[in-house]
């Protein structure tokens, strides 16, 4: 039998309503967890005073430098049992698949060593085991680790990654997201567990341009599926679709929505695609999923430098590899190699607390590309420079060099 609950008039109001209530869940835990009783007390206090009362500190597990988010209460005097409320970030499997057996084991471990509060998942993809005393961190981790899971990233480290459901359950998937996710990230294990980079670095993997992982805007290196050849068309299914929805619907919702006007609906209800001008945006395939699918010569586009707001404003990633195959072992080694070059160059040239994208902004894309050994490509830009403020006396040499490179 646990400690007597604090009065939580404001939080109580969050128990009503159709959406599952985290408050109800916390109260359930509070029945036999004093830590949660006081957590609810502190949270109610935050609601009453409109302020947060956690501070950071240090907490970790033997052998690792990161992966635990330490939380100490600033009002432990009022709520002693939740004085420590640390979080373990655990890396999920690609696509966040689980069987109930492993989930139950997580529950058991966390019921025993922690508060019993688990987030599935954090915005970076971690299983967040939230609410742990300093002394229990090691025990909890050891059991989770024995279960086959490992800590995720925190601090200036390579971070936990996310990949979409993709190959596992999506017809749009243009590469094996799960394999890429594991091949790349598991190659940086040391940079995940021992934070020593200028700042955080995130990989995200989306199987197609729908970018269900928000990789362009939320990761330092976004790997997104695409194709180089023609969209696969099943004209019979096209006709069925047109019959079912009517020509007007198809024109208004497919034909005229193509960003490059690459689609024509022929008089015989067949679809003509100007594949040279298709920019692989996925829209027509999204709408006519039975009739259309990505081409067969598939691979990925890679963008670098995405992040959110801090310091200079949100940044989207920039295309640095318009297309690369991702099928053979060599392909997967190559993409890992690329990630390594980028992180190494950034580790050497990034300022403290400067994201890769901020560094590129500061030194210029050219210098970054040179640093990681990639040739410029017109696909990296929306349009070439509009101002003459550049010193071009290297023009002839550069053009000669490029000719060289092309011819062999």
């Amino acid at each position: 039998m646990s400690k007597k609950p604090h009065a939580t008039p404001m939080l109580d109001q969050l128990e009503s309503g159709p959406w599952p209530s985290f408050v109800t869940g916390l109260k359930r835990l509070a029945r036999d967890k004093e830590m949660v009783v006081d957590l609810l007390g502190q949270l109610e206090h935050s609601y009453q005073t409109r302020k947060g009362y956690w501070k950071g500190g240090t907490a970790s597990v033997i052998g690792y430098g990161g992966g635990v988010i330490p939380r100490f209460s600033e009002i432990a005097d009022k709520f002693p049992k939740s004085a420590e409320f640390h979080t373990l970030r655990i890396m999920p499997p690609p696509g966040m698949h689980y069987n109930t057996d492993v989930l139950r084991k997580f529950c058991d471990i966390w019921e025993q060593h922690g508060s019993g509060l688990i987030a599935l998942h954090g915005q970076s993809g971690d299983i967040m085991l939230q609410g742990c005393s300093t002394e229990n961190i090691q025990k909890a981790f050891d059991e989770v680790n024995e279960l086959g899971f490992d800590l995720g990233g925190a601090g200036p480290a390579v971070r936990t990654s996310m990949s979409c459901v993709g190959h596992a359950r999506c017809e749009h998937s243009c590469f094996d997201e799960g394999r890429a996710h594991r091949a790349v990230v598991n190659n940086f294990i040391d940079d995940i567990h021992r934070p020593a980079l200028p700042y955080k670095f995130k990989f995200k993997f989306s199987g197609c341009a729908n970018d269900c992982m928000n990789s362009i805007q939320r990761s330092d290196m976004a790997v997104i599926g695409t194709w180089r050849d023609d969209i696969q068309v099943n004209q019979a299914e096209v006709k069925n679709f047109v019959k079912a929805r009517g020509r007007e619907y198809v024109v208004n919702n497919v034909i005229s929505r193509c960003p490059t006007r690459a689609l024509t609906l022929k008089n015989d209800d067949s679809l003509e695609i100007d594949n040279r001008n298709c920019v692989k945006c996925m829209h027509c395939i999204n709408v006519m999923t039975r009739a259309l699918s990505p081409g067969q010569d598939r691979g990925v586009t890679i963008l670098v430098g995405g992040k959110r707001t801090l310091k200079i404003g949100d940044l989207m990633g920039t295309v640095i590899v318009p297309f690369m195959k991702l099928e053979t072992d060599e392909d997967f080694e190559r993409i890992t190699e690329l990630g390594k070059n980028i992180i190494d160059f950034w580790a050497e040239n990034g300022l403290e607390h400067e994201r890769c994208g901020e560094m590129i902004e500061r030194i210029g894309l050219n210098n970054f590309l040179e640093g990681v050994g990639i040739e410029v490509d017109p696909n990296m830009v929306n349009y070439p420079r509009t101002n003459p403020f550049v010193r071009m006396d290297g023009w002839d040499e550069e053009v000669a060099r490029l000719k060289q490179a092309k011819t062999g």
């Binding site: 959406w19 985290f22 052998g63 599935l120 915005q123 928000n214 805007q217 829209h283 959110r308």
Partner: protein, 357 residues
């Protein structure tokens, strides 16, 4: 004699196949097409001929073990004992037999898990930590999301928006929440109040100075002790100085307001990805249910639903009708704060005669 401490097994990202529903595993990379028989249900068909039905349900993300076990019980009884989670903390149950969809849905609804979040619905709001766990929050996250999802329950369980609606929240201006069709974020409106007594002990002054985007912070001696000083004319109240230096109190019960942003888009479908744009600010940070913010969000959704064409994401709709019309239709005031004055903001200015009257 001392026992060797256990050293970690650096196993990294675990293999996903071991946890994957057998039908998904068998058809990995083989899927052909899909349809949505009803809101909350996806029907995927494989080139092998296999089929799978996915039932998507909303969760509170911040789950007690009791809730997770309840979901496991349902999975064991109705869905072969496998589940997966989406990037928006929705849970998905997979079944290989259409007839198993109904009972599964019934069981989930009985336990209070809403079925939906697919297609053109308003899916679960991606949320962050807030007062529950973060060390720098201006507001709560779980509570904001819970109260909003209560309001948007109908929009979650049905699919009658013009296109998917992806809402995000962030409990401070660092914005762990993503870009969204609608984003509900903290917006500080006053410079940090500095607790000078603590600075010397707690803060690495040079790195705090370096953190400020507008160089508004300078080292200073305050009543004889080394501290920091903020040029309040320059300060844009971003809060970047607070994490490295907690004595720079940016959070304020009164002045940490909520701002609402519209038109963010991550997908490359049709249009290129877009950032969300400021539409409303000065909204009170009002627990436990943030009614003022909720009202604005619902109003925006109403107008979007009435006016947008099929497949138009919120940002694409506004681009078609133009921002002036957006403010007209939503009756939100357009102020000088909406004019961007940050780096590169020139690109946001209208340097053409393209105007709708």
């Amino acid at each position: 004699m001392t026992t060797q401490p256990r050293m970690p097994i650096e196993s990294g990202v675990p293999d996903h196949f071991q946890y994957m529903h057998p039908t998904l595993r068998r058809n990995y990379g083989q899927w052909a097409w899909h349809e949505r028989p009803r809101p909350g249900v996806l029907h995927h068909v494989s080139h092998t001929g296999d089929e799978v039905w996915t039932v998507r349900a909303g969760t509170q993300r911040q789950m007690d073990v009791g809730t997770i076990r309840k979901l496991c019980d349902i999975a064991d009884k109705y869905a072969d004992g496998y589940v997966r989670f989406t990037i928006r903390s929705n849970i998905e149950f997979m079944v290989a037999d259409e007839n198993r969809v109904k009972p599964l849905i019934a069981a989930l609804e009985k336990e209070g898990f809403p079925i939906g979040g697919t297609g053109n619905s308003v899916s679960m709001i991606s949320h962050t930590q807030g007062w529950l766990h973060c060390d720098i929050p201006g507001t709560d996250a779980s509570g904001v999301v819970k109260s909003l999802m209560d309001e948007l329950h109908q929009e979650f369980v049905s699919e009658d928006m013009p296109n998917r609606v992806k809402i995000t929240t962030s409990c401070c201006q660092i914005n762990c929440g993503g870009q969204g069709d609608i984003a509900i974020n903290i917006q500080h409106t006053k410079p940090p109040k500095i607790n000078h007594d603590l600075v010397a002990n707690v803060c690495e002054r040079p790195s705090v100075v370096a953190r400020c985007p507008v160089a508004a912070i300078r080292p200073a001696m305050v009543n004889g002790r080394p501290s920091l000083e903020v040029d309040e004319k320059k300060c844009v109240c971003c809060g970047a100085c607070y994490p490295p230096c907690p004595p720079m109190q940016i959070n304020d019960p009164e002045h940490s307001k909520i701002a609402i942003w519209v038109g963010g888009k991550n997908a490359n479908a049709r249009s290129k990805p877009m950032f969300h744009k400021l539409v409303a600010a000065g909204i009170p940070n009002n627990p436990p249910r943030w009614p003022e913010a909720a009202a604005i969000v619902k109003n925006i959704l109403r107008v979007y639903k009435e006016d947008a064409h099929d497949w138009e994401r919120m940002g694409e709709w506004v681009e078609r009708i133009g921002w002036p019309r957006f403010f007209e239709l939503t009756e939100l005031p357009f102020t000088k704060y909406h004019l961007d004055n940050w780096r590169g903001s020139r690109h946001s200015l209208n340097s053409s005669t393209h105007i709708r009257f």
